[in-house]
């Protein structure tokens, strides 16, 4: 048996429907909403602001600090206990690394730029959705950046490579699955996040990266359009 038709009828290189919005959290310096399929991410940026404790201050560079959190009721099944578990901490770390290449931290010495990612509803691809929202929120906060980051998860379901795995594909039972979240710096097409769960051939990895680049360039456009929309001057 091979995976000939996607569970939700999408093409193999098609992402789920995406909705993006900037400036959704008024108290934050910058914020964004990013929805892909049923996965929803909110990101808020606070800063640059003073970093505590003081010994963390670095006169040369600011610090980019990310937090990732799934709301306790966000997934199917039992309630997720609140608070950062090992998974959340690791995702926060790789999110930081994914975004750092575009953030000019030399512009905010002795300070911290805090990025908070929250997920009220999840259906796989949460770290990628979080990164997409965070990149928009950083731009919305007016943080000095030299580009944007988009991210998407590529999957191998049985013998097929697919863009933007959903939960039903991630838990596909008639064959094996590999999950490869990838973040792409849109301007340079460099890869700033790459992880993989499952087994994959070297060839398939190459293909997966190419698929991610294509999907991310579409996502990049959606991110930019949403940011522009916030600052659109309405006639009349």
């Amino acid at each position: 048996m091979s995976y000939t038709k996607r569970n939700d009828g999408r093409k193999f290189d098609e992402t789920r429907a995406i909705e993006a919005k900037a400036g959704v959290i008024k108290r934050a310096d910058g914020s964004a909403y990013f929805k892909i399929g049923k996965t929803v991410a909110y990101a808020a940026v606070y800063g640059p602001r003073e970093i505590h404790p003081k010994f963390l201050q670095n006169p040369k560079n600011g610090k980019l600090r990310c937090f990732y959190n799934m709301m306790p009721f966000s997934s199917i099944g039992e309630r997720v206990r609140p608070g950062a578990n090992r998974r959340a901490k690791e995702i926060a770390m790789v999110t930081e690394k994914a975004l750092l290449p575009v953030v000019d931290i030399s512009k905010s010495p002795n300070s911290v730029i805090d990025v908070f990612i929250e997920l009220p509803q999840t259906d796989a691809g949460t770290r990628c959705a979080g990164i997409c929202a965070a990149s928009m929120a950083l731009a919305d906060a007016g943080i000095s950046m030299n580009g944007m980051v988009a991210a998407v998860s590529i999957g191998r379901v049985d013998d097929k490579l697919v863009v933007d795995l959903d939960y039903s594909e991630e838990s596909y039972e008639d064959g094996t699955v590999a999950d490869i979240p990838i973040a792409v710096v849109s301007r340079t097409e460099e890869i700033s996040l790459l992880q993989m769960d499952g087994e994959l051939s070297r060839d398939d990895l190459k293909k997966a990266i190419e698929m991610a680049k294509k999907a991310c360039s579409k996502i990049d456009k959606i991110q930019r359009d949403a940011l522009k929309k916030k600052y659109e001057v309405k006639n009349g």
Binding site: A44, F67, P72
Partner: protein, 258 residues
């Protein structure tokens, strides 16, 4: 907080108006959307002005407490999420979050709006437990009333998952709702005192000037079911009577959103 802003807010209150143009007892625009998060058994998103609060309900089967062997259990937790306010920090719930969760909890528990006896599956062994989480998304003041409204709306939105006596199948939601006594549903109105003025629904700039607040939770017939005084300054008996009066009056408006 700078003095100019305090004076600004006080000067307006003297004229019987808020600095954002509202009347003293006027709420901002309220919106309640049920079922915004599909994976929860029940959920609601409440916005009051720019304040945004999410509440979600998860159900599981567990053991009853020994002193109530034939009743389901309920737990409310609040996360003052650092994305919602520059002063909220990541980490275990701070005292403000604990207070918020406990005040909302008290209104629901004491009103008896949930018929917990109907949540018993097998006496002394198995009962449904209701796990409710409040997550603040944007704190522009009045998290108490927004949270209470969100939790009640999420409880109303809740559909029981299917249960075969052994495991809960979360993917199959039944049509059954929680056993709620609608007449007993509490609404929460927090009345704040600034100078000699009583206001409802403060925005965060006003909240910083609040000297005392009283959260008044009321059932449909006006019976009080929970109270919580907060703030650093004391209140007179007359103050309290006035505030409870405002709370009961405004509750009628809030009830329409449930």
């Amino acid at each position: 907080m700078d003095k100019e802003q305090t004076n600004h807010i006080l000067n307006f209150l003297e004229k019987g108006i808020r600095f954002d143009g509202r009347k003293l007892d006027e709420y901002r625009q309220i919106k309640v959307e049920k079922g915004f998060s599909e994976n929860a058994e029940g959920s609601a998103r409440v916005t009051i002005g720019d304040t945004i609060v999410f509440a979600g309900v998860k159900l599981s089967v567990g053991e009853p407490y020994p002193d109530t062997p034939n009743e389901g259990t309920m737990m409310i937790n609040a996360e003052l999420m650092p994305l919602s306010n520059p002063d909220f920090e990541p980490g275990p719930p701070a005292i403000q979050a604990i207070e918020l969760a406990r005040v909302v909890d008290r209104g629901i528990r004491e009103s008896g709006t949930i018929d917990t006896k109907k949540l018993c599956i097998k006496k002394e062994e198995k009962v449904w437990s209701i796990l409710i989480d409040i997550c603040t998304v944007n704190d522009d003041g009045n998290l108490f009333d927004a949270s209470a409204l969100a939790v009640l709306a999420a409880l109303q939105d809740t559909k029981m998952p299917s249960y075969n006596g052994k495991i809960v199948d979360y993917k199959k939601k039944t049509k059954d709702t929680l056993p709620l006594n609608l007449k007993k549903i509490p609404t929460s109105c927090t009345v704040s005192k600034i100078g000699n003025h009583f206001i409802v629904d403060p925005v965060h700039e006003e909240e910083e000037k609040v000297e005392a607040r009283l959260t008044v939770e009321v059932e449909e017939d006006g019976t009080l079911c929970a109270l919580q005084k907060g703030g650093d300054k004391p209140l007179t008996a007359e103050d309290i009577d006035n505030m409870v009066g405002i709370g009961i009056e405004k509750s009628k408006e809030l009830r329409k959103f449930l």
